[in-house]
Amino acid sequence: MADFEPVLLSNIHKQDSHTLPVYQAGGGYQAIRKVLSGMSPNDVIELVKASSLRGRGGAGFPCGLKWSFLPKDHPGPIYMCVNADESEPATFNNRILMEQDPHQVLEGIMIGCFATRAQTAYIYVRFEYPTAYRRLQGAIDECRAAGLLGKNIQGSGFNLDIFLHRGAAAYICGEETGLIESLEGKRAWPRIKPPFPAIEGAFRKPTVVNNIETLSNVPHIVNRGVEWFKSMGIPSTNPKDPGSYGPKLYCVSGHVNTPCCVELPLGVTARELIDRHGGGVWKGRKAKAVIPGGLSMGIMTEKELDIPLDFAGPGKVGCLGLGTAAVTVMDETVPIIDYLYNASRFFAHESCGQCTPCREGTSWASRTIARIKAGQGRLKDLEILQSISQSIGIMPGTTICGLADGAAWPLKNALSKFRGELEDYIRTTNPGGYGQEEPALALVELTH
C-alpha cells in the first residue's frame, strides 16, 4: 500500500502550527469563506450527508443526518456543543488536533454552526488538557481579532461566538447529555432520550453535539468534495449501513515499540497498525489481546487482528464496535485478570451513580475481580461476572447511557475468549476454594 498523505494531521509538524498565519498559509479558512460566500445551511447539510461522514467520538452516527434533525424554523437560540472531553482510556487523537492544529478545529465548528444555524458554540474541554485549552483560547482570540468570529463574519450576516468550558475530570461528561448537564452547571447525569438534544438540548434549546475529529473533517469535505472523501475507506455492504469513509486517526498504545497517533483511511487492520506504525509488539513478544477502540470496546485475540478496523469490523469478532479507534496492545505476558482488574476499576470509578444497575454492577464486578486477582476466586465468580455483564447497559435496557455497556464488554469478551485462562487462574491461585459453589456471606454472623 502506498503511503497515505495525511489530511487531518497535515499541519501538525509545521513550526507554530497552532497559529492563524501558519493555518492560513496552508489554505486554512478557505472552506468557511466558500460556505459563507455562496452556500445555504441546507447545502452544507446535504454535502456532509452525501459524504457519509460518521461521528468519530465512538457512536459513529452520521454527522449530516444529525444536523438535519435540528428544527429548520426554530426562532433560536440553537447551540453547538463540541465534545472535547476525550476521556476514553487509550484515546488521545483529539488532544493532538486541539494542541497542534486548533484552527482546523475552529473552522470545522464554524461550518457546523453555519449549517445548523447555531450562533453560540461551547467547546467542553476536559481538565486534563491544559495545553489544548490554551491553544484553543489563543486561536479563538486570533479569530476574533481577524473578524473570523463575532458579529457579521466576513460581511456575511453570520454571527458566531465560541466559548471554552472546562471540565473537572469526570468520564461521564463525554456522554453527550451528561456533557450538556455539566455545561448547565449541574452534576453530569445523562438524560433519558427522547427528547434528543437536537430537539431539547443545552438550556432546553435545540443543540447539536459533535466530536473534535468529526468537525475537523468538515473543512476538507467542503474544499475537496464528497468524491474525494468517499474514495477512502470501506464502502457500505447493505443499504442500512452508511459505510466507513474518509480518513481516521488511529491511536496505538500499550505494548508496542513506538506508541503513536496515525492518520489512515478507515479500515486498516490492527495488525498493520501494530507492525507498521507501532513498530511491532515490544521486547520481541507476541500480542495476546488487543483493544480495538478504547477500553469500552472489549478485546480481540491475536487471531482476530486481521479484521478491518472500520465501523463494522470489530463487531464481527464480538467487540462492541470501533469506538474511538484507539488500539491498545497487551503482550503475551499479561494475565487477562490484570486487564479485567484495570478495566473494571476504571468503570467502577467513573460510573456516575445515577442508574442502580451500573453503579452497583460496576462496583460489584470490580470488587469480585480484585478478589479473584488476590487469589480468593471461585469458579462461581465467573458466573456472577457473566450475569453482571449481561444485565447492565442500554442493550439489556437497564441504564440510561452506554457507560455500563462499555463496562460489560471487557467482561463479556474476556469470559468468552479467555475463559480457560481465568478458570486455570482460579484453580491455581485458590486450590482449596475454587470448587466452592455458593458465595461466602458478606458479613460473618456475630455470636456472643
Binding site: 437560540p77 476525550e86 476521556s87 476514553e88 482510556p89 487509550a90 484515546t91 488521545f92 483529539n94 488532544r95 476536559r126 481538565f127 486534563e128 488538557y129 491544559p130 495545553t131 461566538d161 466559548f163 468550558h165 472546562r166 471540565g167 473537572a168 475530570a169 469526570a170 468520564y171 455539566s182 455545561l183 448547565e184 452547571g185 449541574k186 452534576r187 453530569a188 438550556f203 491511536c251 498504545s253 500499550g254 505494548h255 506508541p259 503513536c260 497517533c261 483493544i291 477500553l295 484507539a326 491498545t328 497487551m330 499479561v334 486487564y339 484495570n342 478495566a343 476504571f346 470509578h349 467513573e350 456516575c352
Partner: protein
C-alpha cells in the same frame, strides 16, 4: 456551612473573574464550573465557606452548588499542594509500569496517593487516562507533562515536583 461575618472567601478579584463569565451563558447556573475553577485556582481548594457566597452570586441554593461541586471529586475543601500531580493508572500507562511509578513516587514523597506532603508542596493523586498514552507512563503536574517515566526515576521525579512547587 454556617454563615459568618468574617472576611468573605470570594475576594473582589475572584468575584470580577467570575462575573466576566456571566455574558457567555443564558443562565447563571452554567457559571458554576467556571466559578469553582476560578476559586480553586486562587485557593487550591474550594472551602465550604465559598459555597453560600457563590450560590448568592449565581442565584442558586447553596445545596445546588454543593451538589455540583461534590459530583466532581476534583474540588477539595482543604488546600492541595502547590503542585498537584496526577499519575495515570489507566490501561495504556498501567501496561507500561504506571502503577509502579505511582507506588514508588508515593514512597519517595512519603505520602499515600490522595495526600499532600507536610511542606505543602506536592499533592499526589492517581489519574484516570490523561490522554498521554503516546508518552506512557505519564504524569500531569499542574500543567507540566512528565513523559515515559520509570519507577527507578521516582527519587528524581519527587525532587523535580518539589522544585516545580518552589518555582511558582
Amino acid at each position: 456551612m454556617a454563615t459568618t461575618t468574617a472576611q468573605p472567601v470570594i475576594t473582589p478579584q475572584m468575584r470580577a473573574e467570575i462575573e466576566a463569565f456571566f455574558p457567555r451563558y443564558p443562565t447563571r447556573q452554567a457559571v458554576t464550573l467556571p466559578a469553582l475553577h476560578i476559586i480553586n485556582e486562587h485557593l487550591r481548594c474550594v472551602p465550604d465557606g465559598a459555597i453560600p457566597e457563590l450560590a448568592q452570586m449565581l442565584e442558586l441554593s447553596p445545596a445546588q452548588v454543593y451538589d455540583t461541586l461534590t459530583f466532581y471529586q476534583f474540588f477539595k475543601s482543604k488546600p492541595c499542594g502547590k503542585v498537584r500531580a496526577w499519575v495515570c493508572r489507566s490501561i495504556s500507562c498501567s501496561l507500561r509500569g504506571g502503577e509502579e511509578v505511582l507506588e514508588s513516587l508515593a514512597e519517595k514523597l512519603g505520602i499515600a496517593p490522595g495526600e499532600t506532603t507536610s511542606d505543602g508542596k506536592v499533592t499526589l493523586e492517581f489519574g484516570e487516562c490523561l490522554g498521554l498514552c503516546d508518552y506512557a507512563p505519564a504524569m500531569l503536574a499542574n500543567e507540566t507533562v512528565y513523559k515515559n517515566m520509570t519507577a527507578d526515576q521516582a527519587g528524581a521525579l519527587a525532587t523535580q515536583l518539589k522544585q516545580q512547587a518552589d518555582g511558582r
